[in-house]
């Protein structure tokens, strides 16, 4: 009970600190807000990018057409060769007969056309379907396969999708850097705000020490003040991300441009966004004030 009352006293001091230098507090809060809006944006973006790259990864395969004159042993050698390449997860062989049968099964038109060909005259080619682990390296794998003997033609995905993945990747990296820089600025600003509070309370601190307040009792309010700044700074970003994303999601009917790029359902990521933003805000605030207390409130 006693500890609870002491804690209450500390917290009320912290709030007084926030409002005493309100313009400074506001600067810190705004900086945290801007940072966290970006953080929220990058979290949502990376979830979406990750989501649709895995979607694409599932489908995106390299199709390797083989020379018509290839022998069966050569096919086996080639298959193992490709299988042992870096970044290759799986190689499936499709003989031209199988492909022909598949096509015939698909529609009657195909069926009638394809049935005119015998095993000898089959215009189709034997092929491999190659899957990769990392979609970003799919081009390299394709290039390498192209260089192999008895390989006629190598095709993969739609170039535009690959480009898109790359662009998102760059956007992601830029936001990470921006967020890191902003976090640093924010820590500095919070730390500066707390420093000013400490300085404007020199006399109180001095008297507190004289009348027997412990170090932690003196320090705690300043520490909490940073946490309060971080928390307040997280509120707008949380609301902005939540309502903003739900709005965009509904507006775009859950997909970006085409059905190839589905958006992640808001209900699947909003709890993560909210917890991350509040968490980062509080940690940044706590760290900033910790720094100031260490530096400017020497015992």
């Amino acid at each position: 009970m006693k500890a609870f009352r002491i804690f209450g006293k500390n917290i009320s001091e912290s709030f007084k600190g926030v409002f005493r230098n309100f313009s400074l507090s506001l600067a810190s809060i705004s900086c945290i807000t801007i940072t966290l809006v970006l953080v929220g944006f990058s979290i949502i973006l990376s979830y979406n990018v990750n989501n649709f790259t895995t979607e694409i990864e599932k489908d995106l395969t390299i199709v390797v057409f083989l020379d018509r004159k290839i022998e069966t042993e050569e096919i086996n050698v080639l298959q193992t060769r490709i299988k042992t390449m870096d970044n290759v997860s799986n190689v499936i062989y499709n003989s031209k007969e199988e492909v022909k049968k598949e096509m015939q099964k698909e529609s009657e038109v195909f069926d009638s056309i394809m049935s005119q060909y015998t095993e000898e005259t089959n215009p189709l080619q034997d092929s491999f379907l190659v899957k990769v682990d990392d979609i970003n390296g799919i081009g390299d794998v394709a290039d390498e396969i192209k260089k192999l003997d008895k390989v006629d033609l190598v095709k993969y995905g739609e170039g535009s999708v690959e480009e898109l993945v790359k662009i998102f990747d760059i956007v992601k990296k830029i936001t990470y850097i921006a967020v890191a820089a902003l976090v640093l600025v924010t820590v500095f600003l919070v730390s500066n705000t707390i420093k000013i509070t400490i300085q404007s309370r020199r006399r109180e601190i001095e008297i507190r020490r004289l009348v027997g307040a412990s170090n932690s009792f003196i320090r705690r309010p300043f520490f909490f003040e940073g946490i309060i700044l971080g928390f307040l700074g997280a509120l707008i970003p949380v609301a902005a991300c939540w309502y903003g994303y739900v709005y965009i999601f509904n507006r775009l009917h859950g997909q970006l441009f085409t059905a190839i790029i589905p958006l992640v359902k808001p209900s699947n990521i909003m709890h993560i966004v909210v917890i991350s933003l509040l968490g980062i805000g509080i940690v940044v605030g706590a760290f900033g004030s910790y720094r100031a207390v260490r530096k400017y409130l020497k015992i």
């Binding site: 009970m1 006693k2 500890a3 609870f4 009352r5 002491i6 006293k9 006399r203 109180e204 001095e206 008297i207 507190r208 020490r209 004289l210 009348v211 027997g212 307040a213 412990s214 170090n215 009792f217 015992i299």
Partner: protein
């Protein structure tokens, strides 16, 4: 062991000034002690050693059983809770009322609201300021402000009240008023009083123990002493 003991205490400041040399002192519970001496003789330094504002260069300081010289920074508050300290410049917070200034010294104990109220009012009663609860420091006369700071110093029932020139800014009549308050605290509450002062009149009228400091040494230690010509 006495309430306060100094053994072979020396204090040399980083700038090379030796403020105290070889001080041996004992003060028992309930005593009223004046510390007098010329300006720069080391009175304030001696007092600062008692509440651990300064550490002795060597020697031992005991206050209420605490080895003050060895006390770690993080534990200084334990010593301060046994002391009340009064300064020449009062050190009141201008934005707080009289009541709040006194209650300020109870904040860190986590007491219940009515307990804080009871103790604060009692301390203000003791210094005769019960009717000024809601005034701000700048609305009070100097003597009243000093009484507020005394109330703040005693609100936690300290064993020792340490005063460094508490009447330094006050005229003779007001000084005597404040001295009356301090004497009452000594008599009624049994609080030990240690007071550094320049004021001859006060020392002569009170007839208490007088310790004369001269150039960092205890020159005289007189029971029921008078402030003669030895210093100042």
């Amino acid at each position: 062991m006495q309430l306060i003991e100094l053994r072979n205490v020396n204090k040399r400041y980083p700038n090379g000034v030796t403020a105290l040399a070889d001080i041996d002192l004992e003060i028992s519970k309930g005593e009223f002690v004046f510390i007098i001496g010329a300006s720069g003789s080391g009175k304030s330094t001696l007092i600062k050693l008692l509440y651990r504002q300064e550490k002795p260069t060597y020697g031992e300081v005991f206050v209420g059983g605490i080895n003050v010289a060895k006390l770690r920074n993080g534990k200084v508050y334990k010593l301060r809770r046994k002391l009340g300290i009064v300064f020449q410049d009062y050190k009141l917070l201008p934005k707080l009322t009289v009541y709040e200034n006194v209650a300020f010294a109870l904040e860190m104990y986590g007491l219940k609201g009515d307990e804080i109220r009871k103790r604060t009012i009692r301390a203000l009663e003791q210094v005769g300021l019960k009717d000024k609860l809601r005034s701000f420091p700048d609305e009070l006369a100097g003597g009243e402000q000093q009484r507020v700071s005394i109330a703040r110093a005693i609100v936690n029932n300290p064993k020792v009240l340490i005063c460094d020139e508490p009447t330094g800014n006050l005229d003779p009549d007001t000084s005597m008023e404040v001295m009356k308050v301090i004497e009452d605290i000594n008599k009624n509450l049994g609080t030990t009083i240690i007071m550094a002062t320049h004021d001859k009149d006060i020392v002569n009228r009170m007839k208490k123990r007088v310790i004369v400091i001269d150039k960092g040494l205890v020159k005289k230690d007189i029971q029921k002493g008078r402030y003669r010509n030895e210093s100042v």
